[in-house]
């Protein structure tokens, strides 16, 4: 794709905003602070016009009602690929007393007190990005009880940035690896809830209030949210968003619990569908129950998936995770093509390493099936489809994924690495 790509935020309660100057526009639809959905359009297809805005509002709000109104079966349970399993019946839709009231009940943004939340941000040698992230946090409608910045650099490069903001708890964790940093953050945090975001993220003003409300309403051990692209200025960012699907696009809450785990475990529970490390929060009790993040995994170690491995453990031990997409953060995708390639390689390597770790800890064969059968078949299907549709970019990314997978396989034959099975750090 060439030319400009713009992200446009469209509040379907209000007049349509002007069409940005761009070849392609990613519309993100909102109902106030409630994210409703996405649509990609060429500039020539815009503006949408009043009729299409109304048609979209109708369809998208109906989906929100089905996913949020307890009388209609909400919250929805996760299906095998993490998507919400429809629970709406005609009887329930018909019995809905007053649709306007039902909409009014789900629409308001949260104003819940977030002072019980410790926000942990792990950073490594990205002072400029961290500065933007910390500056954006000042706009939180409900500020957290504390902000803990864990500096994972050897040089302590984040210290001077933190000094520019009042009240930041600065923790240095020189042992490299995101899991070490996250664990240091959890140990330093004093709140009953520990929320994580990354240094390349800017949260929505209502983010922590929504997290707080989700924990008040549900007894889930973990709440994850929607990660939206902050911008799509470069080709690499667009590839990540469109070719790879970004961080997901589901806008309906989904409950991942014991049942989801039991149903999907035989074929490798797709725990990575639960969310992303750039937008997740845990009750402190979850760490007391399941231990801390596996320090062999994550950026700086095997590559990634320290978050999803923790979810796996949590679910295996009977816990639950709620995906609540109205808790929104905006992520700056990797801008350079070179960075994206290395990211996709380490994602896949980290993914395979987490599967090995899960197999070692629990003996669930689905993890091996994923490594040996599902991933190769995914590679093959993607290769054929990319060739057929002549998607060169996708092929290049796929090559990195295959390299990452091969590198991941090496963990299977590293006895020293695997010997540390099931020994997770504790609080």
């Amino acid at each position: 794709m060439t030319g400009l790509v713009a992200v446009r935020h469209v509040d379907l309660r209000a007049a349509e905003p002007p069409v940005p100057v761009a070849e392609l526009v990613l519309d993100i639809f909102w109902w106030g602070d409630l994210p409703l959905g996405f649509k990609q359009s060429l500039a020539g297809e815009l503006p949408l016009g009043a009729g299409q805005m109304r048609a979209l509002a109708t369809e998208l709000l109906a989906a929100q009602l089905a996913g949020r109104d307890p009388a209609l079966g909400a919250p929805l349970a996760a299906g095998s690929e993490g998507r919400p399993r429809p629970a709406l019946t005609l009887g329930a839709a018909a019995a809905l007393d007053r649709p306007a009231d039902a909409l009014a009940a789900i629409a308001p943004a949260a104003t819940n007190d977030a002072r019980g939340i410790s926000l942990v941000i792990c950073t490594r040698d990205r002072p400029a990005a961290l500065g933007k992230c910390l500056a954006s946090l000042a706009g939180q409608r409900s500020p957290p009880g504390e902000i803990v910045v864990v500096d994972n650099s050897a040089s302590g490069s984040a210290r001077s940035t933190c000094l520019q903001f009042p009240g930041i708890v600065y923790v240095q964790e020189p042992r490299p690896g995101l899991s070490h940093a996250r664990n240091a953050g959890v140990r330093a945090a004093r709140g009953k809830i520990v929320a994580f975001t990354d240094d390349d993220v800017e949260p929505h003003p209502g983010w922590l209030a929504e997290i707080a409300r989700a924990f008040e309403r549900h007894d889930a051990d973990c709440v994850t949210g929607l990660v939206l692209p902050a911008s799509l200025d470069t080709a690499a960012q667009r590839s990540f968003q469109f070719a790879m699907g970004g961080f997901g696009s589901n806008v309906v809450p989904v409950m991942f619990d014991r049942r989801f785990f039991a149903e999907t475990m035989p074929h490798g529970a797709q725990v990575w569908r639960i969310g992303a490390g750039a937008n997740m929060a845990f009750r402190r009790s979850a760490f007391e129950r399941a231990g801390l993040f596996d320090e062999r995994l994550g950026a700086g170690a095997s590559g990634c998936s320290e978050d999803s491995e923790f979810w796996y453990r949590l679910l295996a031990l009977g816990g639950s995770c709620l995906y609540e997409p109205r808790a929104v953060t905006f992520h700056h995708h990797r801008a350079e093509w070179r960075e994206l390639r290395s990211q996709m390689r380490s994602y896949m390597r980290g993914h395979v390493s987490a599967l090995v770790a899960q197999w070692d800890a629990f003996g669930h064969r689905g993890n091996l099936q994923r490594i040996g059968r599902q991933l190769p078949s995914y590679f093959l299907r993607t290769a054929l489809a990319s060739l057929w549709h002549r998607r060169a970019t996708r092929l290049l990314i796929l090559a990195e994924e295959v390299r990452g997978w091969l590198a991941g396989l090496l963990y299977l034959v590293r006895p020293g690495w695997r010997r540390r099975r099931g020994e997770w750090p504790t609080l």
Binding site: L24, Q40, S41, L42, G44, E45, L48, G49, A50, G51, Q52, R54, A55, A57, T58, E59, L61, A62, A63, L65, A66, L72, P86, L88, T89, L90, G91, A92, A93, A94, L96, R98, P99, A100, A102, L103
Partner: protein, 405 residues
Amino acid sequence: MGYRLVEIDFAQPLRPIALAADQNGCGIVARWHGRLVGFHLERCEPGATLSVAHLQRIADARFAQAVLAARVAEALPERSPEAADTTLSVVICTKDRAQRLARLLHSLHEAKRDSTFRSVEVIVVDNASTDQSTRDAAAGFGDVRYVLERRTGLNFARNAALAAATGQLIAYLDDDVVVDRCWLAGLAEAWRSRPDAGGFTGLVLPFRLDTEAQVHFEAIGGFGRGFARLEYRQVRFAKSLFPVGSGEIGAGCNMAFDRKLLVGIGGFDEALDTGAPLPGGGDLDIFYRVLRSGRTMVYEPRYAVYHEHRETIAQLRRQYWSWGLGMMAFLIKSRRSDPELKARHSGMVRWWFGDRSKALWKAILRGGMRDVRFVLAELWGGVVGLLGEYDRSLARVAAIREAAR
């Protein structure tokens, strides 16, 4: 073997549906307080009875979300003007099908009861019928204008109507459809939602599913374009060939246009949709030209008709053939008349033959001789269309014009 076609308003108490011994399925047109919300084909054992519980399961899976959306629509603030403050001409082009014409006029009469248009005129264009019956059928309905077009060819008839009509909007219907009782309300709603649109298309549901051919046609998608309102412009995301091959917008048996625009772009191409030798391509061509004029087209599901599908397998096979033929004739014509998009036309020719070859391969693997012959007919139509059918049609049409002088 055929399917039973039923209309169910799911806001009313449900009753079981009994199939006859020669029915092995059921087509369900679903409504909610009269509003169309969905269509579903359910295969069953011959002579079976669909219990209320079974119908409820179908409704939960297929219609509940649409019902919820209809209820949400009630709750959203309505746009201001209720009435469609415009005039409408409804045109029916017909040839030697007096019975079907009467059936359609009757349904139109019903739909007109609660029209919100400033005025609605109905024009029947008799396309050189061989006897008086068409004229008599039209005369049976008081307020119908009768226009005779002696030159045989659907697009001759459509252009004759264009010249005779006075409405700001002109809606075309084929004589093998019946309109839904909300047809006019649906068109009015579509127009109100975008008064500057160049054209409108609507939902086409089956009129009956009595034969294997009719069930087969509906099962592969029929003329159905779904229950979501859509808008189309000159370009579409992830459809690099659009608006070439704009068949997804709708079907020629149910379409409406801004009459002035249609006149301005020269009306319908009389060398397409000519009947027997080249019975197709006309709707693709007019949708394409409206979009290329820079105007929007709106698809509105409530603007719905019921279409009598081809009755026999042989007729359906011929229809496959005519799709291939019409598609290629349209592409050859447009490539010539709109050189700016030449690459897209060539791309569509390649894509179409590739896609149909894939379909042929799949049909062979499934081993159904009938499906193989359908695809072969379509491919053969495509080849004939590619090899000069449009030029032959131009020559034929010129001769018809000459003879009529």
